[in-house]
């Protein structure tokens, strides 16, 4: 039974170990092919995941859930992992060594994320979170020859450790004041339990830790450096997988464990959302390095999603899930295109992308669409994501007019973000390339890009499937 619940995780672990073993026995194997093979296998795992169905009761003595929410995220993480593996395979030639281990680590991190999707207990939360985080320390500093990579690794390491320190301390206080680490029991306790200052402290410190994962103000400050320094596939994984994991936890903790005391944290999330929106979108304005810019942009998007959380309603929760879903495709599309392009142009600076549309139509259109989707322009998926989030906020605003201010800030942020996203679009299509040698794109990359683009446009126009999935997943919170 428990095995059934964790079969996907087990599959990934098996894949990881298998990779290590093949590498041990046949070190000469083509690493690129290996990566693509793994991607396919993960894809199959994803297919398999659709055979599973939500289960009402918990597993492992209440520490693990396999509800719609969990499945939604597991599938999301599998998609992300598959595409990240493709990205890594395309990136393989830029990593001096240990490619197999790289894949293995990606898979193990993915395992951690899949567990995170089901976490229902603070202890498991912490352990799984650490599994992901520590793996990312290694992945971030994987390019040992590049100072930027190591530097990013160190920063992520220290700040990450700091945040997990806060998390643990917070968990300690929650445990101490409520006597439980299980979300359901916690909620039950909070229903009728008076909550003292100590409990609030614990709550805030946990929020701190999770806020760090999703790069929300004031814990966002690591993001730009790490995004810029990390190997691009890792950046992609950070921006999509790790962030989604953070939100998965945040939603679980806030909307299951801490839902009864939402009056304590709604205002806080509201303010954080606004601050994050402002910081991310303003900070991105002067950036020239595309990865760094995407770092800021991921802060901004954390802000958008926090809008959905701050609204504390069914619409909002569903909106966040939908947003994460489409955001993964959009971001991966961007990063895949960047990886393919930088292979030739060799620089992450936006001006270097000038004339990309001419040099490689597919990369041009992919990157442009990704940017447009991030900016939230129809008919791309990002548009509907934002639409839902705004809808959620406005719905809440019907009772609490402060939320109109939040919506206003969000609106302003949309306009500002349009500027820097379309600046990239400008480089791609409006500016002439200095050297016009065409950029080759491997078939695998093409496939991945097409998948992303079709997803972006498809979800953007036919929103219903993803919306239904998200709403279904969010239904576990029993919000109105």
């Amino acid at each position: 039974m428990s095995l059934y619940a964790t079969q996907l995780e087990c599959l990934l672990v098996v894949l990881a170990l298998g990779t290590l073993l093949t590498d041990a026995f046949r070190p000469t194997a083509d690493k690129r092919k290996l990566g693509l093979l793994l991607a396919v296998l993960v894809g199959l795992t994803l297919v398999a995941s659709f055979l599973m169905h939500p289960v009402a009761n918990t597993f492992f003595h209440g520490t693990y859930r396999l509800d719609a929410f969990a499945l939604f995220f597991k599938r999301l993480f599998l998609v992300v992992t598959a595409l990240v593996l493709v990205a890594s395979a395309e990136f393989a030639d830029r990593i001096e060594g240990g490619m197999a281990e790289f894949y293995a680590l990606v898979l193990l991190a993915a395992t951690g994320m899949l567990i995170i999707a089901s976490v229902n207990d603070f202890i498991l939360l912490f352990v799984a979170l650490e599994l992901v985080t520590i793996t990312f320390y290694i992945l971030t500093s994987y390019l040992r020859r590049q100072l930027t990579s190591l530097e990013a690794g160190t920063k992520y390491l220290i700040l990450g450790a700091l945040s997990s320190g806060f998390t643990v301390y917070g968990i300690a206080y929650i445990f101490g004041t409520t006597g439980t680490t299980n979300f359901d029991t916690l909620a039950a306790t909070l229903e009728h339990g008076a909550t003292g200052a100590a409990f609030k402290l614990g709550m805030l410190l946990v929020v701190t830790g999770l806020g760090f994962k999703i790069a929300s103000v004031p814990f966002q400050i690591w993001a730009p450096d790490v995004y810029q320094g990390a190997p691009t596939p890792v950046t992609a994984f950070l921006a999509t997988g790790s962030k989604a994991a953070g939100f998965a936890l945040l939603l679980r903790v806030m909307l299951v464990g801490l839902l009864p005391v939402n009056h304590l944290w709604m205002t806080l999330v509201l303010v954080l959302a606004a601050a994050t929106l402002v910081y991310g979108n303003l900070g991105a304005l002067p950036q020239r390095n595309i990865k760094r810019l995407l770092g800021y942009s991921s802060i901004g998007h954390a802000g958008y999603m926090l809008m959905g959380l701050a609204a504390v309603n069914a619409l909002g929760a569903g909106a966040v899930l939908f947003y994460l879903g489409q955001y993964a495709f959009t971001n991966l599309c961007a990063f895949l295109a960047i990886i393919a392009a930088t292979k030739v142009i060799g620089s992450d600076d936006i001006p270097a992308f000038a004339g990309l549309g001419k040099r490689s139509p597919i990369l041009g259109v992919a990157l442009f669409l990704a940017m447009a989707s991030l900016a939230g322009v129809p008919p791309l998926s990002g548009f509907f994501g934002k639409f839902q989030l705004f809808a959620a906020v406005i719905e809440r605003a019907q009772w609490d007019s402060r939320y109109y201010a939040l919506a206003g800030i969000g609106a302003a942020a949309v306009v500002v973000s349009l500027y820097f996203y379309f600046n990239i679009g400008r480089a791609i299509y409006l500016q002439e390339a200095t050297d016009t040698t065409p950029i080759p794109v491997s078939p695998a990359m093409r496939v991945a890009l097409y998948i992303c683009m079709i997803a972006m446009i498809g979800i953007g126009i036919f929103q219903r499937p993803l919306v239904d999935a998200a709403v279904d997943a969010a239904s576990i919170f029993g919000l109105r």
Partner: protein
């Protein structure tokens, strides 16, 4: 009863056909256009006959159709009024029009834009007839604008001549200013009565407070001021002489410029009750009359002299309206149409004879060379001056009587104008046709015009002679009235004669010149020579007043709105972005510091506070 429709639309059809199909076949185009207007003339005559033989107007009322209907609030018809006024005007327009159409064939011969010319001419005829037949204010406004545009096109017919292009533009814009007032007047009237229809309006006038009615009258009069080139909007008409002479004859002498007067007569029910409006109109008319006449004495362009005389004659008519004598106004309008058209065509024939020479001081002694032209021109002159028994005498007589009856100052103005008219016409005739030829080369080549041109001259000459006999027009307009014949008329006959005598004394010599008059008038001469500097004044206003406003707007747009407003917003945003970047020092400890700071602040706000 569809005759009116046929009359109205056949020129339009002609215009369209010419533009679309027969542009290349010049004669065909001309024929089509002439045919169209002749049809109009014929039908008008038949209607006239029908009426003259005691036919009932009701029988020939065409059914209007609803052109624009909005709820039950706005009903704008497209109809045709059939009454004596409009029928008279129909006759004038189509009759004189036909003559001029035919004349044009000769005058425009060989011009590359021959077909275009006739297309425009037909378009104009259509618009003019539209004004005549209109049965409501919106409809009249529509055609009002259309004649404006066709005159724009015809004045600027030789568009490559900058002066012509300018003149066309000027005419259109000045008229627009008049229409501005007219539109407002119509709107005001509508809000008061809820209808635009001439038929329905009279019943509802009584309800309007006197002040408002006066205002309405004045505003609508603005339209007439523009169209009929009354002071202070008269400046466009002289420039309009840049157009081909037939155009000047048809549009800027006989018909269009008279439209203002016609419109006033059409809506007299609106004006007559309001004393203020009447006074205003009368005085504007009087002033225009005398002012134009004075200007005319110092002009050297054969057509411009006629143009100013047109102005002053229009002044007469408007004055007549202002004095409540719509009949008299229409009477003078009719006769004026005849002889002024005649004069213009005559001038045109002269100009053609001298190969487009318009300066009277380069002419002279032409009566031998162009006898018919001379004879007809002479008739026109006498008629215009109001010499018995020519048409002008009777019509002008009416107006002066009216003036005498109502206000002495206006009567004096009128008489003075009469005198001046005779004087400057005498000047023109003597300088152009008598004395020794001054430009011998031109003189040698001068020749009488072909029959297509002389025929209309004769036709119009006849009309100018008989046009006023038995006060046919007033009788036709309202058979009821009985024209009283006072002896004053015959006294007034002395005025033009005096004018001629005076002119003759100065100009009837081998080498006439303005020198003596110049000497006599001194400063005044320069003023009238420069048309009282109206153009300069308006130019100044346009250049400095409007120019300044426009420049201000543009600067505000560029600097305040775009640079300061939008640019400011944008730069503030980007500055904010750059400042945020300062946090991102890259130093781990500062990062940790911000991290801790964030935590402490949050704890402070949520827990401690």
């Amino acid at each position: 009863m569809n005759l009116p429709w046929i009359i109205l639309f056949s020129p339009l059809v002609a215009a369209v056909v010419i533009t679309v199909f027969t542009r290349r076949f010049q004669m065909l185009s001309a024929l089509i256009s002439i045919a169209a207007i002749l049809i109009g003339f014929a039908f008008s005559l038949s209607i006239f006959k029908f009426l003259a033989t005691g036919g009932n107007l009701e029988l020939i009322q065409p059914r209007p159709f609803q052109w624009l209907v909005i709820g039950d609030l706005v009903k704008i018809e497209f109809g045709a009024t059939m009454d004596r006024l409009s029928i008279l005007m129909l006759l004038v327009v189509t009759g004189v029009g036909s003559a001029i159409h035919i004349y044009s064939v000769g005058y425009m011969k060989g011009d590359p834009g021959f077909s275009r010319f006739f297309a425009c001419l037909s378009l104009f005829t259509f618009s003019m007839l539209g004004i005549v037949l209109a049965n409501n204010f919106i409809q009249i406004f529509i055609f009002w604008e259309l004649v404006g545009v066709s005159s724009y096109l015809l004045i600027g017919f030789w568009f490559e001549k900058p002066s012509a292009a300018e003149a066309g533009k000027k005419a259109f814009l000045v008229n627009r200013i008049g229409d501005f007032g007219m539109m407002l007047g119509v709107l005001l009237l509508w809000t008061q009565t809820g209808t635009f229809n001439f038929a329905e309006l009279p019943g509802k006038i009584a309800a309007i407070p006197a002040g408002t009615l006066g205002l309405i009258g004045a505003l609508i009069f603005c339209g007439a001021v523009g169209k009929s080139a009354q002071f202070p909007l008269h400046v466009w008409l002289p420039d309009a002489m840049e157009g081909p002479t037939p155009v000047s004859a048809l549009i800027h002498a006989a018909t269009m410029v008279a439209a203002g007067v016609y419109m006033l007569c059409r809506v007299s029910f609106l004006i007559l009750p309001s004393h203020t409006a009447l006074t205003l109109i009368a005085w504007i008319g009087g002033i225009t009359a005398v002012m134009a006449a004075t200007i005319a004495i110092a002009q050297n362009d054969i057509k411009r002299i006629l143009a100013y005389s047109t102005l002053s004659q229009l002044g007469y008519m408007v004055m007549a309206v202002g004095l409540g004598g719509t009949t008299a106004a229409m009477f003078h309008l009719t006769t004026h149409a005849f002889f002024k058209a005649l004069l213009f065509l005559g001038a045109g024939s002269v100009i053609l004879a001298l190969h487009h020479e318009q300066d009277i001081w380069k002419m002279g002694g032409l009566w031998k060379k162009t006898p018919i032209t001379f004879a007809t021109f002479m008739i026109g002159t006498l008629a215009l001056a109001g010499v018995f028994p020519f048409a002008g005498f009777y019509s002008k007589d009416e107006i002066l009587l009216l003036a005498k009856a109502h206000s002495l100052p206006l009567f004096i103005l009128g008489t003075a104008t009469a005198f001046l008219t005779a004087y400057y016409m005498g000047r023109e005739v003597f300088v152009v046709f008598f004395g020794k030829p001054r430009d011998h080369h031109a003189y040698e080549h001068a020749h009488e015009s072909p029959w297509v041109m002389t025929l209309p001259l004769v036709f119009l000459a006849i009309l100018s002679v008989i046009g006023g006999w038995h006060s046919a027009v007033p009788h036709f307009l309202d058979p009821a009235t009985e024209i009283e014949h006072s002896n004053l008329g015959y006294v007034l006959l002395l005025v033009p004669l005096a004018g001629f005598a005076f002119a003759a004394k100065i100009y009837w010599k081998a080498e006439p010149s303005d020198a003596p008059v110049k000497a006599a008038l001194g400063k005044v001469w320069t003023w009238v020579e420069n048309k009282y500097y109206f153009d300069e004044l308006y130019l100044w206003i346009v250049k400095y007043v409007q120019g300044t406003i426009a420049a201000t707007c543009e600067l505000f747009d560029r600097w305040i709105l775009q640079r300061l407003g939008i640019g400011g917003l944008a730069s503030t945003t980007s500055i904010a972005g750059k400042t945020l970047r300062l946090l991102q020092t890259g130093n781990i400890q500062s990062y940790a510091f911000f991290f801790g700071l964030g935590v402490t602040v949050i704890i402070y706000y949520v827990v401690v506070r």
